[in-house]
């Protein structure tokens, strides 16, 4: 069953074409890892899916919902596509628990008590139940990112988008975030992950997309593409990353 569909998507910033006629389908349960050189458009690719960036041509659909739909349709689409940011973007005036409760209450209309139960369960899942009354400023980067993952999950999305979730973290904090993501993938969550973590791509990813100059240069199983890069461009890129 297709979860995300790109149809001839064109994204421009002014006269700069960032995504150039991209078409593809992502199915339920896939863990898609998106890699590419900086400036290749991989973050933009992800941000177009939940309409944080508007596209100039073509269409993107999540399920039946289109990013070009009316505002209410776009909001519905965003509730189905949870987003995790490079800079966490937790709400600094709220505790970890309140951050996770926020979406269920304000985006899903859940009661306070239900939202609280759900949030506690999710914070337990990411291993932070005992820190739930701390403010984001009192948590480490890895902990903040795990709260952010719980916050995104709390809205009950069909798929999760990760925009370089470990890039702002110290190397020794990355594994705790990657572990949570791996667990999520094993539960069957559909995930699209922009990252430089080739190890994650190989072990957890079910599909690797290499974006270069606004086009999808390669699209296939991670193990094959990584151990046997079909182009010089990918070979060069992998040498620089690893």
């Amino acid at each position: 069953m297709s979860m995300v569909t790109f149809e001839h998507v064109v994204k421009k910033f002014g006269n700069n074409t960032i995504l150039d006629d991209i078409s593809l389908t992502i199915n339920k349960g896939e863990v898609v890892v998106v890699v590419g050189p900086s400036g290749s458009g991989k973050s933009t690719f992800l941000r177009c899916i939940n309409a944080l960036e508007t596209i100039q041509g073509g269409d993107i659909r999540v399920g039946k919902l289109s990013v070009r739909g009316k505002p209410a349709e776009v909001r519905e689409l965003r509730r189905e596509a949870g987003m995790v940011f490079q800079q966490f973007n937790l709400f600094p005036q709220l505790t970890a628990l309140e951050n996770v409760m926020f979406g269920p209450i304000h985006a899903r209309g859940m009661s306070n008590r239900q939202a609280r139960e759900k949030a506690i369960a999710l914070l337990e899942k990411v291993g932070l139940a005992e820190r739930m009354d701390h403010y984001p400023g009192e948590l480490s980067g890895g902990q903040q990112q795990r709260v952010a993952i719980a916050r995104a999950l709390a809205v009950n999305p069909l798929l999760m988008l990760f925009d370089e979730p470990t890039s702002a973290l110290d190397p020794e904090l990355r594994h705790e975030v990657l572990k949570v993501m791996k667990d999520l993938a094993e539960e069957g969550m559909t995930m699209i992950v922009v990252t430089h973590e080739m190890d994650f791509a190989r072990k957890v990813g079910s599909r690797l997309i290499f974006i270069d100059q606004g086009k999808i240069a390669h699209d296939g199983p991670p193990s094959e593409l990584l151990s046997n890069p079909p182009s010089q461009r990918l070979k060069d890129f992998l040498q620089h990353v690893v």
Partner: protein, 236 residues
């Protein structure tokens, strides 16, 4: 020269009346100014002040209407910040009745002027604070599927408000002191009362000293309230 405390004592009842008028003008002026300023500030922050062919093509009505609203807000701020408050109140009190047939009493003219005047400055304070909140927090709200007003009220607003407090305190104090300029339209506020007593007894030292101390107490109170507010909230 001799300082006669009994002069101050005798003047206190009228000065107190003037103080109440000053407080009333300042309170309602700032209350209205805060509402007007919040509205204009939000418009200036989030509504583009230019026409975009792309947007007009997608949504013709809001594509044309919204930039017009933004230009209106911009014009308002430009005019109010660019003219002295004395001219503004004279305009409302003396010129407006001649242009359109509305007769306003001094009190209403004073409050209206202060609303319009402080609103323009508060709009810029609001805009500055809203723009200082990291864009990622707005996106975090968007990606949960929240509508704009919820993002503004629940996420950006509370953070921006904390950042506004020092500048708002400034504006409250400035507006309180600016209300003394309404002496030019004869409103019986504190400075006007002082002047009238002065005109009858010529005790400049005692009267202006007392008036200054009353202003100092009022502004001190504002500073104290804001300081307490700031201490109770964590600045983020």
């Amino acid at each position: 020269m001799d300082f006669d405390l009994s002069v101050v004592w005798d003047a206190l009842p009228s000065l107190w009346k003037g103080t109440l008028v000053t407080i009333k003008i300042t309170f309602w002026g700032l209350f209205g100014g805060a509402l007007l300023g919040a509205l204009a500030g939000v418009i200036r922050t989030y509504v583009p002040g230019w026409f975009s062919i792309d947007i007009i093509r997608q949504r013709p009505l809001s594509g044309i209407l919204l930039p017009l609203v933004s230009m209106l807000a911009q014009g308002y701020i430009l005019i109010v910040r660019g003219t002295p408050i004395v001219v503004q109140v004279m305009f409302i009190y003396f010129a407006l009745p001649l242009m359109v047939d509305v007769r306003v009493d001094g009190m209403s003219a004073a409050i209206a002027t202060l609303i319009i005047n402080s609103g323009a400055y508060i709009a810029e304070i609001v805009r500055g604070a809203l723009q200082s909140v990291p864009k990622g927090l707005f996106e975090a709200g968007q990606s949960m599927g929240l509508p704009f007003y919820k993002i503004l009220l629940r996420i950006i607003g509370p953070i921006a408000f904390r950042r506004m407090i020092p500048a708002l305190g400034n504006q409250c104090i400035i507006s309180l002191k600016d209300s003394s300029l309404f002496i030019v339209i004869g409103v019986a506020e504190l400075t006007r009362q002082g002047q009238e007593i002065m005109a009858s007894n010529f005790r400049a030292v005692e009267i202006w000293g007392a008036v200054a101390v009353i202003y100092l107490i009022l502004t001190g109170l504002i500073a104290l309230i804001l300081k307490t507010m700031e201490r109770r909230m964590r600045i983020l």
